[in-house]
Amino acid sequence: MKGKGRRERRGWATPVATLVAGLLLAIVLAMMPVRWAASLRGVAAAVLRPGQQAALVLCRCTDRAVGWTKSHFQSAARLAEVEEELKWLKQANRHLAAELAAVRSQAAAAAGSDDQQLLLVDSVEANVLGRQARAFLVRRHLLDVGSRTGIQTDALAVDAPVVIDRGNDTKFKPFNVVVSGRRVGGKIVEVGPVTSVVQPVTEPGFREVVQIAGAAQGILEGAGEPLCRIRRVEVTEPIAVGDEVTTATGCGVLPTPLLFGKIVRVDRRVGAAYWDIWMQPAVAPEGPRRVAVLRIELNPLRMAEEKRLGIKD
């Protein structure tokens, strides 16, 4: 045992000596002047430079490959997105085509019915003139609305609640309905060469047959107040606040009724046979700046047909 231990110690003697020598070398290196160390580092850097350049090239290639792969995946994702969008657009296109076909068929049906109708409705856009515009026209003797009826021109035109910038030049006639969208704002009462006076639904003297909730009929009257009054509606008719008041379809020539407003108050006096109904006009009291005037004309196709038949007879 003693011999074995001695052999082992002898076996480690050389490594220990090597270690001591290595440590001495390390100390010498640590104490080496900076200039010498720098020159050694310079040699090491020169030896490593080719490898560093190769590593940089490899890095660039890797970056390029990663970029290419990334862009490839992005392109694939974008392609999938575009395909999805295309699918959606095709579907939307089919829906729109169906809607267009439906609208076309409706238009064709309407055109067919127009051919048969005796009266046609045409709309002409007009601007509502403000007070300054009216005063300007008065100064130039252009605002002669009402001269036909012998009323003092300027007074009527300037004081009229609403004046629009179209008149006989667009073949307006009294009682043409003035609308804003599908809402009735009033009707023309006086027509001049280039201007017309409009009577709003709230003005005293305005009267029109109306339909309530698509059933009961009554007479709408302007009361000079923000609300209009509807008379001659029997108490047997079911009327409620919020019901829509429209033009009487049977009395007009439009396929769909126009809106006057909504009922805001319903009263009934004791023993009365008719409701007292108050309506909020659909067109605001200050009114829109641009309106459309509905003109009723004879259907030229029907007239031509009548003439042709008359000649044949």
């Binding site: 076996g11 480690w12 050389t14 490594p15 220990v16 090597t18 270690l19 290595g22 440590l23 070398l25 390390a26 100390i27 010498v28 290196l29 640590a30 080496m32 160390a37 050694l40 580092r41 090491a44 850097a45 030896v47 490593l48 490898g51 560093q52 190769a54 590593a55 940089l56 890095c59």
Partner: protein, 192 residues
């Protein structure tokens, strides 16, 4: 020195093979491979720091090479090679030369002695050895650099970063040690 130790394990003896001739044939090849590995590690440490960095910590590939060499080689003077590898690290790093080399010589010598008493064949044991050795070496080098004025970081920061370097390097060591284990496995299991 027994020739079988050059085969990378106590069970690496291959009966019937001319061990001396094998050693002569293999030693230059091993040196060449080791030089290439050290060169690659040095290039990686100097060129790809930004790629390998996690926070303030990068793996010390040269220290890893040195420690793994000591773990794998059964030569009693293997620590000399590890010291030389550490010297390469000193040459590419700022500060005094020889500091990393000296500490690696001491550490390698200690590991060589430790291997005689503690079995380090298992992967987990080898990874732990790498973790401990690299952490201790990095801390020793950092603290020495602090004493010599090469490093201006606080003491605790140096220790903490050394632990981080050890951990990161041990993580990198896992696949390396697995591959080396697979390379050595046929020699261990060959039965003639």
């Amino acid at each position: 020195m027994s020739s079988r130790r050059w085969y990378g394990g106590t069970n690496g003896t291959v009966p019937g093979v001319d061990v001396g001739r094998e050693r002569i044939l293999r030693t230059p090849m091993r040196l060449l491979i080791l030089t290439l590995i050290v060169y690659t590690a040095a290039v990686t440490e100097t060129s790809l720091v930004d790629v390998t960095r996690i926070g303030h910590v990068t793996p010390d590939l040269l220290a890893l090479t040195a420690i793994v060499y000591v773990l794998m080689a059964n030569h009693p003077s293997a620590f000399v090679v590890s010291g030389l590898i550490a010297l390469v690290g000193d040459l590419i790093a700022p500060g005094h030369l020889g500091v990393g080399m000296g500490w690696m010589l001491l550490l390698g010598f200690g590991l060589t002695r430790l291997k005689r008493h503690v079995p380090l064949e298992h992967l987990a044991a080898q990874v732990f050895a790498v973790l401990a050795a690299v952490s201790v070496w990095a801390a020793a080098v950092g603290l020495t650099g602090r004493v010599l004025g090469d490093v201006s970081l606080p003491w605790l920061t140096i220790v903490a970063r050394s632990a981080g370097v050890g951990l990161y390097t041990a993580g990198v060591a896992v696949p390396v040690l697995m591959i080396l284990g697979w390379i050595h496995e046929p020699h261990l299991t060959t039965d003639y």
